[in-house]
Subunit: 429 residues, 2 copies
């Protein structure tokens, strides 16, 4: 094999970009092919910002599009972020010139993946994004390459480390969501504006990408139902634990007879389930294949080191020069997402009520459920200090979600209720 030297243009110089420059500088020959690699140019918002890496000797570009187009850039690495604006423009510019692109930008791929894939495939150039999902843990490669001999039926996991850290800390320390979030922000685990993470949108981008890889569908963020952890109360974490569950933010994509369900929502996972044991900022994923069965993978979901290593692995894949479509099928033949119709969705639920302490409460609740045709799996009434009423918790057997919703609406109308019922799904994976 004859060895080449690849010049890398890096746009975006946050912790991942700096980590990548460190990695390439320390090990320019990291590719097993023996090719070498050098960072030739960089671009970021502010030239004067203090950075941990030595930038001298690197060509500076104010505009990432110019970096993408530079004749000194063989591979364009996009670490700017955001579905629109400079990130999208620069990635498109590189692909139009037939240059390989490596990106960690989940928002961009979730929103414009099909169109960018079409552009890359028309030019015969790779578009790789391992670092967009689960940081250094190679979920994208597994779905794109290792599962092609099988048919994937479901993927489900914990894809946002910030939410998982917050839920883990709430349980461990007995503090509220707001307190733990403030601490996470101070530690740098959560952004100043945490909506993207705690609202479930970051996990939504990631599961959208994984669904596209798993099922050969065009990534469509709007196909995902998204609910975050910002409404999770300590009371529910404690009551769930009494029932043998831990609340996790679960992202899932499941193929059913009628379509594909792509969702992000808090879910009760049994304490002995591997997902319940994923602590802190870790990420984890189940991949369920018809032939292969269940594969479980767990690892760091973020961080400069792991994410930079994932970007480097993609750069090595560019050097290896495989001819593959960007997703599970050529961009033009990706299918549209067919969402599972709401009428077909079934599942189990945890329902927590806060009621006045008076006789006949349980009878009236049971009656409402019986009328709706929802059967109860477990029932717990437990005095909790400071709860402002008596918490009653029930878990249902599997039932149509629409039926459970009707029963919950009927319970909400009961005069003994002090607050609206809190419903959290029970994980089906």
């Amino acid at each position: 094999m004859s060895n080449a030297n690849w010049r890398i243009g890096v746009a975006g110089l946050g912790t991942v970009g700096s980590g990548l420059i460190d990695l390439v500088t320390a090990r320019p020959r990291f590719s097993p092919t023996g090719d070498t690699c050098v960072v030739s140019g960089v671009s970021a918002r502010s030239r004067g910002a203090r950075r941990s890496v030595d930038m001298s000797g690197l060509a500076w570009f104010d505009n990432p599009v110019d970096l993408a187009r530079s004749p000194e850039t063989d591979v364009f690495v996009e670490l700017i972020g955001g579905a629109e604006g400079p990130a999208r423009e620069a990635v498109e510019a590189a692909l139009r010139l037939g240059k390989p692109v490596v990106t960690a930008n989940k928002a961009l791929i979730a929103a414009h993946g099909q169109e960018l894939a079409a552009l890359a495939e028309a030019q015969g150039t790779p578009l790789l994004f391992e670092a967009a999902v689960m940081g250094g843990t190679p979920a994208v490669k597994m779905l794109r390459e290792a599962m092609v001999g099988d048919e994937v039926e479901a993927v489900a996991g914990i894809l946002n480390g910030t939410c998982n850290y917050i839920l883990t800390q709430m349980e461990a320390s007995g503090r509220s969501f707001a307190e733990v979030l403030a601490e996470a922000q101070a530690l740098g685990y959560a952004e100043a504006d945490p909506t993207m993470d705690v609202g479930g949108f970051d996990a939504g981008h990631k599961i959208t990408i994984l669904a596209a890889l798993a099922f050969g569908c065009a990534p469509t963020l709007v196909a995902a139902e998204i609910e975050g952890v910002d409404t999770i109360e300590l009371l529910d974490i404690r009551l769930a634990k009494d029932l043998g569950y831990r609340i996790k933010l679960v992202a899932s994509a499941v193929r059913t007879g009628s379509g594909i369900s792509v969702r992000v929502h808090p879910a009760l996972t049994p304490l002995d389930h591997p997902l319940a044991r994923v602590d802190g900022v870790l990420n984890a994923l189940f991949i369920h294949g018809r032939k292969i069965g269940r594969i479980f993978i767990q690892g760091a979901g973020a961080g400069a080191g792991p994410t930079a290593a994932a970007v480097a692995a993609d750069i090595a894949d560019v050097m290896a020069g495989a001819r593959r479509p960007v997703f599970q099928a050529p961009a033009g033949s990706l299918k549209a997402f067919t969402p599972v119709s709401a009428a077909d969705a079934i599942g189990r639920a945890y329902v927590r009520l806060l009621v006045r302490d008076e006789p006949g409460v349980i009878a009236s609740i049971s009656e409402v459920l019986a009328e709706a045709g929802v059967s109860i799996d477990s029932f717990l009434q437990k005095p909790v200090e400071g709860a402002g009423g008596v918490p009653i918790v029930l878990t249902t057997h599997v039932a149509p979600e629409a039926t459970i919703a009707r029963a919950v609406a009927a319970m909400a109308a009961l005069p003994v209720l002090l607050t609206p019922p809190r419903v959290i799904r029970i994980a089906g994976v």
Copy 2:
């Protein structure tokens, strides 16, 4: 991308070969590139054997070397097994003609990997063996491709489903090794001659391959220290559990300052450790990278469906046409294994003694350990019915293995001992 049709020659028609023919027949276009694939010819020991797949229309070759050389074979799939003989000859014949080879043969790759890699690389043709390790769980691809931006420090896991099934069943049912082995043979989980599995050699082949991928060393089976599960007694499984451990057959490859340690041996794993929770025929692996940290992966380690899917993923990789060395570096630059010198090996140990019930026993054991300089982490004396004496169990703190061995030898000489001491390592991962 223009689409090609690839003709596959399959040598070896056991469950995996039949599973592959089923898969390719059902989904000839399984490759994301849209290329098609057809099984053009087959070879096996006995033409007349009853098989689950329809063999009509497939060209038959008595000799797999002829199948490998046939002009109708574009990709040669070797599922015969064995480090020597027809498997090796046929793989070499295919590679010499520049034909891509996909194999599930761990013995062949562990014994002749470097030489076959050199042949493949000289011809510029791929040699892939995902199915050789962990069946459908893509450990090989992860180490070969996803970790290249990092430096692997250790891999460790459970790589033999038969041994794990036997240990799981011994604990669950309270039966002896011999009884559970007989059951596993009846169920088809163990071979008529079980030595390869229960002696640890199968796991030894697999960890040898993983070590080569992780550290860029030539695969050398002789570098591995191998101990199987055939000496594990129910008594030790029970006593270990009392101390908070489960006995697993752990295969590990660890880079230290002085070299690389490649081992397969029973090890006590803490009950809350992910490896302790791997039940039945499942396999699992930790990969520890400097930047990425610890990745954990678990899945089916064998079986016709998962293994055939792994072979198919390799065939799709052949179609994708990546240019990569077979291991972590070109065959000519793979380093020789430098084993860790015995003097540098450190660890913790479980030591079980069976002693006569008389005064002063514990004092004399403690004295021996103190003299050797081994400090004790826990000590358990417990009457066990039918043990034929009083079992005394101790676990050590971390100490040089040579020091522990000297202490054990001194204990073995104590007149109160009824049987030789039983030493099992405590997992350090």
